[in-house]
Amino acid sequence: MSDVGQEKDKLIEDHEYDGIRELNNPLPGWWLMTFYITIIFSVIYFAYYQFLGGPTLDEELAQKMSVIESVRKEAQKEAQEERSENKLRALALNQDIIEKGRAEFVAKCIACHGDKGQGIIGPNLTDDYWIHGNGTISSILTTVEEGVLDKGMPPWKGVIAPDVIQSVAVYVYSLHGSNPEGAKPPQGQKVEYE
């Protein structure tokens, strides 16, 4: 028998199952209100998006992307100026930048280029010979960003943040002439360094 205390008058007659009784309490008002509100909201929400011209997911995305695109165009213009060889050479004097580039190089590049840039699957990055570009920081930067997919060099743009890619290019440039042990034989064209 259920222990009902003062709720005896609320017990529903006949409702007894293996000793379990039931009370006839009403639905809690706040609960009912919540239910109604979610139903009303749902009807309005569904009607707005499906029948009354609310934006589709594609439209919302296109709108947000166009904002991002325009911000990006601005930023790219500035970045073009930042990429001039002179500006990049200036960075090459900064030890912090080189250190930042080294850390990323260790994380992303040594699998193919070796821990000292001596070359494994990818070419030696320390000699005077270049398959792509002419050994300047800006040409290294372009190769790293665009990659050479057919030949096994991944593109890194979008994977590594723009300022970090720059640092990596600066770091690769700084390796020039380091003559590491076990260097891979030269590939590409010899470049005259001043």
């Binding site: 222990d3 379990i20 039931e22 609960w31 997911l57 990006r72 699998a111």
Partner: protein, 719 residues
């Protein structure tokens, strides 16, 4: 509980309950519970420290996670459901179970299926559909055992001595009918071999059917049966009447009617048509109140027994379980709101949400029921009240650590994925950086798991000692009922319906069929209306072979293949995925969790050599990766011969392969593999051993992702 009116015993029938089968299911619950929790713990450790898979293919995360989820839901959850349903139904209907034989076939059949899962999942026999991974022979076995359960249950209802069905039984009926429908519809597949099949649904259809199933597995396997158990064991344990009969009626029907629609909330912002997504969202919101109806009725039934909270650990377990049910069913609708979902989806927040429900609601309710039932059916007092208390606190602490760490992990990583700086660039473009940030939280989750299991071992010991010290002579549980037909008032309205089992069941079927039909039927013809411009080519034989290896290894548990219609997804992974891109995907591989990056557009992103080295040891390429190594892929040979059969099944399912391709699938694949192999060999002449190995097929598959559909087919948004 016999009342005082003992009349002449000639007029009384003695009914002996079958508690032996209840005991069996209780043992199974405890046994498989331990297994499910330990496998879960291993999975948790593997994400913190990948080497804990011991570099064994059977233990890699991709194969262990399905084992954990299946064991937890169907072995631990399933067995306690059966124990509780069989125990309470007999008492609620004052009759022995319909058939002793069916009860035993049900028990042993279910355990055999679990053993089958335990063997096949680690071996990689998987359909890759979440909570429905088991291959077709086991699917058939599940359907058969479920039908036996249904016959036994409805047979018991047919011979009942209590005219009206109590609310717990309504929930049991809902469970049995709906799980049968879900399982059968989601498992329609065509066998290729003994342990391989392809589903009849492709891409978006498969996604919708799967999440209609997956979501309602939560609804009708982890919610309705447990609510039924709550309605029996909470009032019994607290000795209190149910707070509101009216609330039971309203929340029951609204719950079963609304739940079935909510599946698409697993596919928000995806390529699923907008209308279906919106339905999924709003029906989830509307579920909030009906779910809380159950919580209110549970908690207010305990009202007046609050003093027991201090003295009776069983009441503590039950009260906390119901509270977690309330939390989860508030969080669920919240996560279904499209904007919240864009942050939380694919992250550990979802994992936190699920475990709040499973560890808190299902787990603690189960523990409460076990502590209530074991002394009852073994006719003894519980061995130690104190151990029960300790279990409660250790377990609760475990849940909190688990929940809070995964919640923090999910929100942290979600925010990192979303972060775009003032130049329109991702702040964290490198995916693995966002993984490293949350890795410490994986250890905290692991500790939470350890605590939960420690608590469970206390239960095992306590139950063991209770049974050991139980009186040796069996005392059969029985009840005396009048053999004369009792006069009962049938009543009107819903009360009348409760006396009409068959009509009740039919109405229930109709209420779950409505939402299912409205959502699924339109999707089945969706590919007929695709614009002609968006041509997609089917997978080549080698790509298909690679795809099946991807499925076998369970890569989908860590990798999604669905770039959502969200700016930060587009910036990171490329143009949003379209329906046509997965129109030949059987099964679909959209995924539900991004432990690793999305792979929908990984084709052409890296060279073959990169993939080769990354598959054999990801850390050679990405030093901090938590992805398992797959060296065996570079050992095992591709199973070329099965490709003919595979292509012919695909062709039967409507994939446009020509006869020649099907007949020579193995030769086609061999030629494709040769090309990739030659390319790799050109870069590294020492690679002769990888000729014709599975890794070549996986590379072919990965390189085709995002490349099979013509440019116009993919929307015009550029990276």
């Amino acid at each position: 509980m016999a009342d005082g009116n003992q009349v002449s015993s000639k007029l009384m029938d003695k009914i002996v309950y079958d508690d032996d089968v209840v005991k069996k299911f209780l043992f199974a619950t405890i046994f498989w519970g331990a297994a499910a929790f330990l496998v879960g713990l291993l999975a948790a450790l593997e994400l913190a420290y990948w080497k804990s898979n011991l570099n064994l293919e059977w233990l890699t995360f991709g194969r262990i996670r399905p084992l954990h989820t299946n064991a937890a839901i169907f072995a631990f959850g399933g067995n306690i459901i059966f124990a509780g349903i069989y125990h309470s139904t007999q008492r609620l209907l004052k009759t022995r179970l319909y058939s002793d034989i069916l009860s035993r076939i049900h028990f042993w059949g279910w355990q055999l299926i679990i053993v089958g899962a335990l063997i096949t999942l680690p071996l990689g026999y998987s359909q890759s559909k979440e909570y429905a991974e088991l291959e077709w022979p086991l699917d058939i076995a599940i359907a058969l055992v479920w039908v036996i359960f249904a016959v036994n249950f409805f047979g018991t209802i047919a011979i009942r001595r209590i005219k009206h069905l109590y609310v717990a039984l309504w929930f049991y009926i809902a469970t049995i009918i709906t799980v049968a429908v879900l399982h059968i519809v989601n498992s329609i597949e065509i066998p290729v071999s003994l342990f391989k099949s392809y589903p009849v649904y492709a891409g978006v259809q498969d996604a919708l059917v799967q999440w209609w199933y997956g979501h309602n597995a939560v609804a009708f396997f982890l919610t309705t049966p447990f609510l039924g158990l709550m309605y029996y064991y909470v009032p019994k344990a607290a000795n209190r009447p149910i707070y509101s009969y009216k609330l039971s009626v309203i929340h029951f029907w609204s719950l079963v009617f609304l739940y079935i629609w909510a599946g698409p909330h697993h596919l928000l912002n995806s390529a699923l048509p907008d209308w279906a997504q919106t339905l999924g969202m709003v029906f989830s919101l509307m579920l909030w109140a009906p779910s809380w109806g159950g919580m209110i009725n549970g908690l207010l039934t305990l009202r007046g027994a609050w003093h027991l909270l201090r003295t009776d650990p069983i009441i503590k377990f039950l009260a906390v379980a119901v509270t977690f049910y309330g939390m989860s069913t508030f969080e669920g609708p919240l996560l279904s709101i499209k904007s919240v979902n864009s942050l939380a989806h694919y992250t550990d927040w979802i994992i936190a949400h699920v475990h709040g429900g499973t560890l808190g609601w299902n787990g603690f309710l189960t523990f409460g029921i076990i502590y209530y039932l074991v002394p009852k059916v073994w006719n003894n007092k519980i061995y130690s009240q104190r151990l029960m208390n300790n279990h409660f606190w250790v377990g609760l602490l475990g849940i909190l650590l688990y929940y809070l760490s995964m919640w923090a992990s999910g929100i942290t990583q979600g925010l990192m994925w979303m972060a775009v700086d003032g130049n329109g660039q991702l702040v964290y473009p490198d995916f693995v950086e966002t993984v490293m940030r949350i890795a410490p939280l994986y250890y905290i989750r692991f500790i939470g798991g350890v605590l939960y299991i420690v608590g469970f071992f206390l239960l095992i010991y306590n139950v063991w000692m209770t049974i050991k010290t139980a009186p040796k002579e069996e005392k059969v549980a029985s009840v005396e009922v009048s053999s004369l037909a009792e006069k009962v008032t049938i009543g009107t309205g819903h009360r009348k319906l409760e006396a009409l089992g068959a009509i009740f069941t039919v109405l229930l079927f109709i209420s779950i069929a409505v939402g299912s039909i409205i959502e699924i039927i339109p999707t089945l013809s969706i590919y007929k209306y695709l614009p002609a411009a968006s041509k997609t080519r089917p997978y080549t034989p080698l790509e298909l072979a690679g795809r099946d290896i991807y499925i076998k290894e369970g890569c989908y548990v860590c990798h999604s293949q669905m770039v959502r219609k969200l700016p930060f997804d587009v910036l990171r992974f490329g143009q949003p995925s379209t329906i046509e891109e997965s129109m030949y995907d059987r099964p679909f591989q959209w995924g539900s969790k991004r432990t690793g990056p999305d792979l929908a557009r990984v084709g052409g992103k890296y060279p073959d050599m990169w993939h080769l080295r990354h598959m054999i040891d990801p850390r050679e390429i990405t030093p901090n990766s938590i992805m398992p190594s797959y060296p065996w892929l570079a050992d095992k040979k591709i199973d070329y011969l099965s490709l003919r059969k595979k292509l012919s099944v695909m062709k039967r399912l409507g994939v446009p392969y020509d006869e020649n391709m099907v007949a020579n699938a193995d030769i086609y694949a061999g030629n494709e593999a040769e090309k990739i192999y030659e390319g790799l060999l050109g870069q590294d002449p020492s690679l002769t051993e990888i000729k014709d190995t599975e890794v070549i097929a996986i590379i072919a598959y990965l390189q085709t992702l995002g490349k099979k559909t013509s440019e116009q087919g993919v929307s015009q948004l550029k990276r």
